[in-house]
Symmetry: C2
Subunit: 115 residues, 2 copies
């Protein structure tokens, strides 16, 4: 389940904006139409819609239009590439610590054996 090269870019970039994160937080509590979503934000609708589109582009959100209203909902598994990257990063780091630990252990053994 490998991810396309730029996917992490668009994901992280999409999350790097407070408005967009707020939208996601709101959507975690359930779907909403665009104007419902836009309500709390002091922003013209076209600007706001841009954010929704960006979230959609990153695959974090899905939208569907029926009649004249468009409803937006969270895409459940969309965060996993991000989580995976963070986890890998942590694994790398811990791997490094492990190796440092090994090294120190070996060092102490050598000293104990008499130099």
């Amino acid at each position: 389940m490998n991810l396309s090269p730029g996917q992490l870019d668009t994901l992280f970039q999409a999350l790097g904006d407070p408005t967009r994160r707020a939208i996601l937080e709101r959507l975690a509590r359930g779907p909403a139409t665009v104007t419902e979503l836009a309500g709390p934000f002091d922003m013209a609708l076209p600007s706001f819609l841009g954010h929704v589109r960006r979230l959609e582009g990153a695959g974090l959100v899905e939208t569907s239009k029926q009649g004249r209203t468009r409803t937006v909902k969270l895409v459940p598994g969309a965060f996993t590439p991000v989580r995976s990257w963070l986890d890998e990063q942590r694994a790398l780091w811990e791997g490094r610590l492990d190796r440092l630990d090994d090294y120190l252990t070996r060092l102490m053994k050598e000293r104990a054996d008499g130099s």
Copy 2:
């Protein structure tokens, strides 16, 4: 341990670039000087340094200069705000599912009681 408002912004934005993520991946295996780090990247040094500075600005990385070389190292706990946000987000989502679950359970009970 609350985080300043814009901290998540700078963090996510810093992670939203492949060069910068690659730098972090490299650094997880241990500190390095700027030119060592820059080696694999087909990029002029000033451009590259810009990325390091951005990582430093986000608090993901620490640098120190001795003599004419500057060494860069990972800041261990720096990812935690990001992880926290993702966890909260997931908690929200699951909370919502729980409530949905409750709702369905209640619904079925009512039906079982005979409408």
